[in-house]
């Protein structure tokens, strides 16, 4: 089965729509949303409604820290993120808020774990920055492959049977077979707010039969997404960072 995985959509309608179209064109049979549907972007209602519809037709979604902060105010966010959460909370209706609050923190499927941040303590929202962060997450699960997001920069880590780690920045469009002899942590880039210097939206496809993961970049209408953020009265930096990919 071909999975399409999306992380950190962040209410960016233009980016998410472009990624969904690209995933369907590549034959996606099941969609996985790895959290942070809202926050930062100007279209939270559309983003939540879209994921609600996808989940109703078989997609899997887990909760991210921004989704969580809509219902449970966080004291660890920076000022821009906090301002965006407060703005978003005022835009969502009760049903949309209940959907976000009801999302699971993790989901397991076959030999795969889906989580927004990492597996060792998912509700602490730690980042996977390097091989030691990745090792801590991989030690915490028995499952062979973990998919996560949160850091907005794509990365692919593996652990051998002797607990040796490798790290790798994936090349877009090149399939990598997740070999069965080792365990893997696939960190996805962000759909709605990439921070690796490339403004194109990021998502990944995973083929459960061939066990190949392919990271993709999708160009989208950045100007409109940024203009909508500015028009909404959200912090200007949230618009300015999109064309920079920062």
């Amino acid at each position: 089965m071909r999975l399409a995985l999306f992380a950190d959509i962040h209410a960016n309608r233009q980016a998410f729509a472009a990624c969904l179209e690209a995933a369907r064109a590549r034959g996606a049979e099941r969609l996985i949303c790895l959290g942070d549907i809202v926050g930062y972007g100007a279209d939270p209602e559309w983003a939540v409604d879209t994921v609600v519809d996808l989940v109703a037709t078989g997609a899997i979604a887990v909760r991210g820290n921004h989704d969580n902060a809509i219902g449970v105010p966080s004291d660890s966010m920076n000022a821009d993120a906090q301002a965006a959460i407060d703005w978003t909370r005022g835009r969502l209706n009760a049903g949309q808020k209940a959907f976000l609050a009801g999302l699971p923190i993790t989901r397991e499927e076959d030999n795969r774990l889906y989580v927004h941040s990492e597996a060792s303590d998912p509700a602490k929202w730690r980042y996977v920055r390097d091989t030691s962060d990745a090792a801590r997450s991989m030690m915490a699960t028995e499952l062979q492959i973990t998919f996560c997001g949160h850091i907005h920069r794509p990365g692919l880590y593996s652990m051998s049977s002797t607990a040796k780690m490798t790290s790798f920045v994936p090349t877009s469009g090149v399939a990598v077979q997740l070999l069965t002899g080792r365990r893997w942590l696939a960190v996805l880039g962000s759909v709605g707010q990439p921070r690796d210097g490339d403004p194109a939206a990021s998502f990944a496809m995973f083929d459960t039969a061939s066990r190949e993961i392919t990271y993709h970049r999708v160009p989208y209408d950045v100007a409109t997404a940024a203009a909508r953020i500015k028009a909404s009265g959200l912090p200007l930096w949230l618009a300015d960072r999109l064309p920079l990919g920062r």
């Binding site: 051998s160 002797t162 790798f168 090349t171 990598v176 069965t180 080792r182």
Partner: protein, 484 residues
């Protein structure tokens, strides 16, 4: 595994080889006519963990490779059931078979080295660095092409490098290992050129340039200590060959050939190798040089992560096809402008100026008489003269006069044999003449294995007639990489 057993449609035959890391079985499969080998890693308790990791690398890399310089891959199985890779069985022996007969004749080693460099150029273009170039990983097809085998230590630019942190010590074959590998560098294709340099040195002198030491301490010496120049071991050693070998063995990768294709070019044209001080050396570097290197090791600035494809792209072989003669003057000036633009954006590019001395079908041997010889030399001189304004530093310019009945075919063959990346060629303006002779540039543009730029002296040219339009249409129909 037993002879007669079946695995994923492959029937196991005899055991061909049992090595330290893997066992090789002859296998067959209905519908596959080429002879096949199944490589099965040794994974039982107490085996070297490197066997597993290097097998994983080969399992990832081999199915992605193509071309005549690697064994074709027909299937893989993973560790969940039975790990294996099935590949084309290359008949014959590896180069290792030859090491009892060393040293080999210089020209034979030159030809072998050229074939291996050509194979490396193909591999590097596929974003893979071999990292274990040595006689036992090189075979040859019956048609002559070198085939590289054993990708267990290789690095693929677009795949995770499972060897990067698996072993504290660099893994590979000590006598052939490039010095930067000892510093943990695994992403520089010029490491393979160093290993090929060791092979060339060994095969021409019978002596390994850095001995057979396996200890890390012994291996580290190559970070500051250069080998004895081959001429000290064999006084008749050709200077051009020493130039090539010592350039491959430079400690700093930036001082080696920038690409395997450029090394193959020099091995294919020994008479045109630009001789530097390297070619004449009889002694190793002075102790003061060696000590300076040794105690400045830590001062080497960290290198940014290299990009194999970008490095190859910045070091193209550019061939310029030129007409020589009065009427070609204006066109050749325009070609020079175009070539200058290409060279100025590629600091490691090399330029091959090519002219075709057209042979008369009825008098093919004319070039062997004195008049023909003079004509040949005159044209070489003219090509040198044309290229002088580029002021290319040593070794970046070569000139070639090809003798052929069909100029386009000669240029195309030159480009294929010499791994040329970009051909620059002028289009004839005189349609009367082209009507008689056919358009060389159109044929080259349509059939070249690389990018082709067709140059016309735009503003000075006469109006295009029908023939010209037809010529342009032929160009436009050329393969996509062609540039006009």
């Amino acid at each position: 595994m037993q002879p007669g057993a079946e695995l994923d449609g492959f029937t196991i035959g005899e055991r061909v080889h049992r090595g330290g890391m893997a066992t090789l079985w002859s296998v067959t499969h209905p519908g596959i006519t080429v002879p096949l080998l199944m490589k099965v890693p040794l994974t039982s308790e107490g085996e070297d963990p490197a066997a597993i990791v290097s097998f994983e690398m080969e399992q990832m890399i081999l199915p992605r490779l193509s071309g005549p310089h690697v064994p074709a891959c027909f299937g893989t199985g993973d560790f969940e059931r039975q790990a294996y890779v099935v590949m084309e069985r290359i008949p014959g022996q590896t180069l290792y078979k030859r090491i009892d007969n060393l040293p080999l004749p210089y020209d034979e080693v030159r030809v072998i080295g050229g074939k291996v460099a050509t194979a490396l150029a193909s591999l590097h273009r596929q974003n893979v660095i071999h990292h274990d170039i040595k006689p036992s990983s090189i075979m040859f097809r019956e048609r002559g092409e070198a085939v590289l085998i054993d990708f267990g230590l290789s690095h693929h630019q677009h795949l995770p490098d499972l060897l990067q942190e698996e072993f504290r010590l660099p893994y590979g074959t000590a006598p052939y290992m490039a010095p930067e590998r000892l510093l943990g560098v695994r992403d520089d294709p010029r490491s393979d050129l160093f290993s090929l340099g060791v092979l060339l040195y060994f095969f021409t002198t019978g002596v390994r340039p850095f001995g057979e030491t396996e200890s890390l301490r012994g291996m580290r010496r190559r970070l500051w200590r250069d080998p004895y120049p081959p001429r000290q071991l064999r006084p008749d050693y050709p200077p051009w060959l020493q130039e090539i070998v010592l350039r491959c063995l430079e400690i700093d990768p930036a001082a080696r050939y920038p690409t395997a294709a450029q090394l193959a070019f020099d091995l294919g044209h020994p008479e045109q190798v630009k001789l530097t001080a390297r070619a004449q050396r009889l002694n190793r570097d002075s102790l003061s040089t060696v000590w300076r290197r040794r105690f400045n090791l830590g001062a080497v600035p960290p290198q940014p992560k290299s990009n194999v494809a970008a490095q190859l792209a910045s070091s193209p072989i550019v061939a310029v096809a030129l007409d020589i003669g009065e009427e070609a003057g204006a066109l050749n000036d325009t070609i020079r402008v175009t070539a200058d633009q290409v060279l100025s954006t590629s600091p490691s590019a090399r330029l091959a100026c090519v002219n075709v001395l057209k042979l008369n079908r009825l008098a093919i041997d004319r070039s062997h008489d004195e008049q023909g010889q003079n004509k040949h030399v005159d044209r070489l001189v003219a090509l040198q003269h044309w290229a002088r304004p580029f002021k290319l530093e040593e070794g970046r310019l070569t000139v070639h006069v090809l003798e052929a009945i069909d100029p386009a075919a000669a240029i195309l063959e030159f480009a294929a044999v010499n791994l040329v990346d970009h051909i620059i060629i002028g289009a004839r303006q005189n349609s009367m003449r082209r009507a008689l002779l056919g358009s060389v540039s159109a044929k080259v543009a349509a059939e070249a294995p690389c990018t082709v730029t067709v140059v016309r002296p735009s503003r000075l040219a006469p109006q295009a007639d029908d023939d010209e339009a037809a010529d342009q249409a032929a160009n436009a129909a050329a393969t996509p990489p062609a540039v006009f």
